[in-house]
Structures are given as structure tokens and as C-alpha cells.
């Protein structure tokens, strides 16, 4: 894991001091709310429906135990005892007082955390594969490149006032757990035939009002040229992205307007003018960063564990957990454990301070002091010994964190919605809870299999409904909350944008409609087909008929 050196720490201290001064000027009335707004947004501080919300960056979703405990302390002391993990692997505190914000930032900085670039029209926190450094699928450790980009993009002098926010995702595995194809830039690391590392560069994907699966503008960018190429993409965007209309300002609109080929040509032209010797990271620094991630102290262990097997045989709940939440590890004798924040009745992505402390302890004791956040709003203990799985499971169970539903129907992504957010048209959390309740029977949920349901409370699509197998979008119809369903989206390597099912439904019909869709799927499913595969095979018609025949 990358540890901040004195220089990184001094940088955070300077940032914290700067914000403290700005808050003091605001509280003294020297700055108006209008003048203060862009400044607080640069530190992730939003004004929401009921209070200030502080979004804390978790760079590429990676935390250690000390950091997780500090987040728990902040939740307890300054919030209502919980935090909310987001689809960008960050955490939000929803009940913050402005006057407390500088103290919170100081306390975060003490453990190398911050809120830099968690909002504003700048390069946001990079998302990365939460299984990085643990999965055998990857061709390189994407955290190395995430850290390179974190440093490069931090207070970038040229790219901090872009037309709109800018999000980068990196994965180095064929199975994409970052939604790379619906990011402003998606980077997929690959090795070519002679083993040379490079990135497929996908630009102009996105969600929001106008969802796009991003086109590939470069098939194999030599890895060492990453920063100069990013500079070229960002410069073309900064100069030519639209600034007249906030809804048309993302890079996806520019790429779509020019066409991927022409956009790619402009990037190449700009790239050719950049001096790589100045713009690309020197090999020595890359080696330093790589070294920080290469020192995970794995033990040499047998590939199987008698303890693990015996517990699976003896405890059906553990066996279910092992089937759904335990993923293969690159090192023999280890596993990746996904901790679901989607217990039935829970707000998706919320964790209480007590739960954060439990997970922090488990990470420290059983996962080489490493904890990850996923874009699906769950947590990951990336390096757990097979022998330790039963004890980890028991501890999670005790904390209400052992729900065995990863990628199943109740593992729902939802934005905070109208319960918190000033932009929302409709609530998202209660809808998620109602749908999840339909799949509370774990046998049934497993029978249904992989089913990604995602809910957004407005068209900004923070709940990723466009890339859901079943997407739910809250809309306002004359002051009433309605929900538009869409089917067949995917944010993974087989990315696609979901298609609208039909007229929006009232809130009390949504869970029922999802139920109907799943019944239809089960009746036409062939073999082990996922919901998404069945939809792609049979199309919209049977599903549409099922829901609207029922509704009328």
C-alpha cells in the first residue's frame, strides 16, 4: 500500500490551512455564500437539503485500518453515527456543520485522508478495481497507475476549472469492476504479445441525462506515456468542451459531436506537440510508487484449507457466504471477501461507526491492513486467509455485515435521493428497501442469480440506473414521485445502456414490477443464463407485456 511521505503530508496540511482560512472568512461575513460556494466545493463540502454534506476522498477506494477508524470517529462525533459509501468509492457524511469542517479536514489529514477534488469541475478521485493486487485476472496492479494519476491530477494548475467534472476509472482485469466504459476516461490495462504493458483508452462514456458507452480512441497506449496522453485529452477538452450549457459540458458531448475518430485525431495532434520528457512520469518515480504496492507480505500457504471446507459443510449460512461473497485470490490459500452494505432494510452503502470499526479491526487482523470500497457501495477485505474465513464471517455476522448477496438482486446501488439530496426528484432509498425485501429469501435470490438493480432519484443518474440490468429512475410527475424502469444495461466489460421499459410507475408499484420482471425472466431463462443474457436474447417485448398487462 502506498504510504504518504513527509511531502504528501505537508501538502495536506497546507490544504487544510487554506480551507480553515476560507471558512473563517465566510463565518465572519467577508465572503458571501456565492463567493464561498466554489471554494467549499473544492473541498467536497456541499449544501444539501438539511445540512452540509462532506465527501471524503478514498483514493482508488483503498483504506487502512487507522483510516477506517478515523472515519468511524468522524461519523460518531460530527455526524449521526454513520457514513455513506458512494459509487465513486468515496464516503459522504450527511450531517456536517460548517464550523466543524476545518477540524474534520485536520483530523482526516492526520491519517492521510482529505476531501480534495471530491467535487468541482476538476479531475475527481480515480476509481480502480477493488480487487487490485488480489485478483489473478489482472495484468498489472492498477493502484500503481491510480496513485500516479492521483498525484498528477492533484491541484493540477491547468485542469482544475474544466467545463465540467472529470472522472477516470482504471482496471487491469478483463472483468471490469469499475464501470470504465461509462467514465469520462476509462483505462483498461493490457499486455500485448511481447508482454509490453499498455492501456486501451476509452473516452467520452458517461451517464447522466445523455448516457453513452465510451468509444475507444487508442487501442494500446504505451503505459509509460500515460500522463502525456492524459494531458493531451484534457487539453483538447479544456479548450473545446462546451461551457454554455452545464448539461452539455461533459467530454462525452464533445466526443459525440466531433465523432470518436476526429476527437482521437485532435488528441494525437496535441499529444505529438507535448514534450514527453517533461510530461511523462520519470521511471524512478514510477518505480518508487510501484515498490509501495509490491511489498504485500503474503505467506506461502496450501491451496486448500481443511478449516474452510469443514465450516462450509457444517454451516449453511457460511457456505452461502462463501458462494456469494468470497472471490478467488491470486495467492494460494487466500481469498477476497466482499462485505455487503446491503442488508435487507438497510440504506445501500451506509455503514455505522461501529460497523466501520469492526471492519477496520478485521482488515488489520485478517487482511494485511487493507480495506477497499467498491463502486457498488460495498467493502472488500482483499487478502483473507482461507483458514480465517469462518472467524471473519462470524465477526461480520455479529455486526450485521454478513449478508450473502453480492451481485444478487438485493445488492442494489442507490443514490441518497430525496431523503438527502437537493437535486433529487424522488426518493431512492425506500424503493431500494422495498425491492430488496422481495429478495429476502436467500434461496430464491440465489436461484435468480446475478441481477444488478440500480436506482437514481433524478436524471443525474448518480445511482447508475442507465447501466443496470434493471434500472429505476425517480421522476416528478406533478409533485408525485414516479419511477421509470429500464432494462438491459451493463457497466461492466459488456457495457450497454439500458432501454426504457414503458410509462413510469407509482412508488408502490415498483417492487411489484421488479418481481414481475424476475418471474418472466425465470420462466424464459435458458440454462444458467443471467437476467441480462436472457434480456439480450429475448428482447424487451415479453418483459413489457408482463409488467403492463399486470398493471392495467
Amino acid at each position: 500500500m502506498y504510504l504518504y511521505d513527509a511531502l504528501d503530508k505537508e501538502f495536506l496540511a497546507d490544504r487544510s490551512a487554506e480551507f480553515r482560512g476560507q471558512v473563517a472568512r465566510r463565518l465572519a461575513g467577508e465572503l458571501s455564500e456565492d463567493q464561498f460556494k466554489p471554494l467549499r466545493l473544492m473541498n467536497g463540502l456541499y449544501l444539501q437539503l438539511h445540512a452540509y454534506m462532506l465527501r471524503v476522498a478514498i483514493p482508488y477506494g483503498s483504506l487502512n485500518a487507522v483510516q477506517a477508524r478515523r472515519l468511524a470517529e468522524i461519523a460518531r462525533r460530527y455526524d449521526k453515527g454513520y457514513g455513506h459509501f458512494t459509487t465513486r468509492q468515496n464516503i459522504q457524511f450527511n450531517w456536517i456543520k460548517l464550523a466543524d469542517a476545518p477540524d474534520i479536514l485536520d483530523q482526516l489529514a492526520e491519517v492521510d485522508l482529505h476531501a480534495i477534488q471530491t467535487s468541482g469541475n476538476c479531475i475527481r478521485n480515480v476509481t480502480a478495481d477493488p480487487y487490485a493486487g488480489a485478483t489473478a485476472e489482472e495484468v498489472d496492479d492498477p493502484r500503481v497507475w491510480s496513485e500516479v494519476i492521483r498525484q498528477w491530477s492533484t491541484l493540477h494548475p491547468e485542469f482544475s476549472f474544466l467545463p465540467r467534472k472529470f472522472k477516470i476509472a482504471i482496471t487491469a482485469a478483463p472483468k471490469d469492476r469499475t464501470a470504465a466504459r461509462v467514465h469520462d476516461i476509462g483505462l483498461v490495462a493490457r499486455r500485448d504479445r511481447d508482454g509490453t504493458l499498455g492501456f486501451e483508452v476509452i473516452v467520452g462514456g458517461g451517464q447522466g441525462r445523455t448516457p453513452y458507452v465510451g468509444p475507444t480512441i487508442k487501442e494500446h497506449l504505451p503505459a509509460g506515456r500515460l500522463l502525456s496522453y492524459l494531458e493531451a485529452v484534457l487539453r483538447v477538452y479544456n479548450r473545446h468542451g462546451r461551457r454554455d450549457n452545464i448539461y452539455k459540458a461533459r467530454i462525452k458531448i464533445l466526443v459525440a459531436a466531433l465523432g470518436a475518430e476526429e476527437f482521437g485525431r485532435q488528441v494525437e495532434e496535441e499529444w505529438a506537440k507535448i514534450d514527453g520528457a517533461r510530461a511523462d512520469l520519470p521511471d524512478t518515480e514510477l518505480a518508487r510508487i510501484r515498490g509501495a504496492f509490491a511489498t504485500t507480505p503474503f505467506e506461502t500457504l496450501p491451496a486448500t484449507s481443511a478449516i474452510f471446507e469443514a465450516n462450509k459443510a457444517a454451516d449453511p449460512a457460511f457456505a452461502r457466504f462463501a458462494r456469494n461473497n468470497v472471490k478467488p485470490h491470486k495467492k494460494s490459500g487466500y481469498a477476497v471477501v466482499v462485505v455487503s452494505l446491503k442488508a435487507v432494510g438497510q440504506t445501500p452503502g451506509d455503514a455505522t461507526a461501529d460497523q466501520l470499526e469492526v471492519v477496520a479491526d478485521l482488515a488489520e487482523r485478517y487482511s494485511l491492513n487493507d480495506l477497499r470500497v467498491t463502486h457498488a457501495q460495498n467493502l472488500v477485505l482483499p487478502h483473507v486467509k482461507l483458514d480465517d474465513l469462518p472467524v471473519v464471517h462470524a465477526a461480520l455476522q455479529k455486526a450485521g455485515l454478513a449478508t450473502a448477496n453480492i451481485d444478487l438482486a438485493s445488492d442494489i446501488i442507490a443514490c441518497p435521493g430525496l431523503d438527502y439530496c437537493a437535486l433529487a426528484n424522488a426518493r431512492a432509498i425506500p424503493v431500494a428497501q422495498h425491492i430488496a425485501a422481495k429478495f429476502a429469501d436467500a434461496d430464491y435470490a440465489e436461484k435468480v442469480g446475478e441481477l444488478k438493480i440500480k436506482i437514481s432519484g433524478c436524471i443525474n443518474a448518480c445511482g447508475h440506473h442507465h447501466v443496470a440490468h434493471i434500472g429505476v429512475l425517480g421522476v416528478d410527475k406533478k409533485g408525485e414521485e414516479f419511477y421509470q424502469l429500464s432494462l438491459g444495461g451493463s457497466g461492466a466489460e459488456d457495457a450497454s445502456i439500458a432501454q426504457i421499459l414503458g410509462p413510469a410507475l407509482p412508488a408502490d408499484k415498483v417492487a411489484e414490477a421488479v418481481d414481475t420482471l424476475v418471474d418472466k425472466y425465470l420462466s424464459v431463462r435458458e440454462g444458467e443464463e443471467r437476467f441480462l443474457d436472457t434480456f439480450r436474447r429475448v428482447g424487451m417485448a415479453p418483459f413489457k407485456e408482463a409488467v403492463y398487462a399486470d398493471a392495467h
Binding site: D5, L7, D8, E10, F11, D14, R15, A17, E18, Q22, P38, L39, N121, Q151, W152, T154, L155, H156, P157, E158, F159, S160, F161, L162, R235, N238, R239, R243, K273, R278, A279, L281, P282, T284, E285, R288
Partner: protein, 166 residues
């Protein structure tokens, strides 16, 4: 007349602004130093330069600095406009002027110019500022020097983190 903050040899100072901003619709005043729009410069620049005046050009944020490339050696000032705090195009323009076009004259920030962006501006190669928030040179310098470290190379000569570490 707006105050002018000038960065010279690492020090910020309040100076009198010797340049007069001339709007397109106004008659050219009989002064030694003027800043003109690009359009007006194309029409009147030759004559003013021939008359020994100091000439600067103001570029709006949607105008390409490359269009000035040929004239740069004769210009005293390129003023880059920030029509709004959040319009960041002039940051790119400044870097290109310094790093790609090799302009060594004054690069001046005009428009919505706030001290919160001072650090970014200096790093991108601006060396003169017409602050719209009433900042003094001292306040500007404090804001610009807020961070002891930077993470990337830009148009200034600050050593990025990776060089400090090496």
C-alpha cells in the same frame, strides 16, 4: 484604473498599470501603451507598433493563442480573459504561450480574477494580474505560495514532488 500586481523574480508588487485597455468601439487614446482586442490589433497593430507604442493583445477565452504566434515577438503583453471564475481556458492559453510558443513578455490575467486561483495562474505562466477581488500584492503572494509542494510540471520552474524526492 484597476490595480496591477506584477510578479518579478519571485516577488509580487503593486504597480501602476501603464497600459490602457482600449475597447473596440472607443477611439485609440494617445498614450504610450495600449491593450487591444485581437480584431483591433489585426487592423491597427502595425501602425501603433510603427509609431513606437507598446502594444498588448487581449484574447478572450475562446480565442486560440496559436493565432498570435507570428506577432508574439512584437507584443509587450498578452492579456488572457477570465470571463467567469469557472472558465479555465486561459490556464491552457497561458501554458501554451510560455511552453509552446516561447513568449517571454507579460502574460496578464484579466476579468474575473480572484486570489483563490493565484497559485494556478502563476504555475501556468501568468506574471501579471488585475485582481477583481481587491487583493493586494501581499495577499496575492500569500495565496500563490500557499502550497509548499506541487505534484506536476507546469510553466513555472517549481520542482514537482517527484524531483524533490529524487
Amino acid at each position: 484604473m484597476p490595480t496591477l500586481i506584477k510578479l518579478t523574480g519571485g516577488a509580487f508588487a503593486d504597480l501602476d498599470n501603464e497600459f490602457v485597455h482600449v475597447a473596440d468601439e472607443d477611439d485609440a487614446p494617445n498614450v504610450d501603451a495600449v491593450i487591444l482586442s485581437f480584431t483591433r490589433f489585426q487592423a491597427e497593430g502595425e501602425a501603433l507598433l510603427a509609431a513606437g507604442r507598446k502594444v498588448g493583445v487581449r484574447l478572450e477565452s475562446d480565442q486560440a493563442v496559436e493565432d498570435l504566434a507570428y506577432d508574439l515577438p512584437r507584443l509587450s503583453v498578452v492579456a488572457l480573459a477570465f470571463p467567469k471564475f469557472r472558465d479555465g481556458r486561459a490556464f491552457t492559453s497561458a501554458r501554451l504561450l510560455r511552453e509552446r510558443l516561447g513568449f517571454t513578455g507579460e502574460v496578464r490575467a484579466v476579468g474575473d480574477v480572484f486570489r483563490e486561483q493565484a497559485g494556478f495562474m502563476v504555475r501556468c505562466g501568468f506574471d501579471a494580474f488585475e485582481p477583481s477581488d481587491g487583493s493586494t500584492a501581499q495577499e496575492w503572494g500569500t495565496a500563490a505560495g500557499r502550497f509548499r509542494h506541487v505534484y506536476q510540471r507546469a510553466a513555472d520552474d517549481r520542482a514537482p514532488a517527484f524531483e524533490e524526492r529524487a
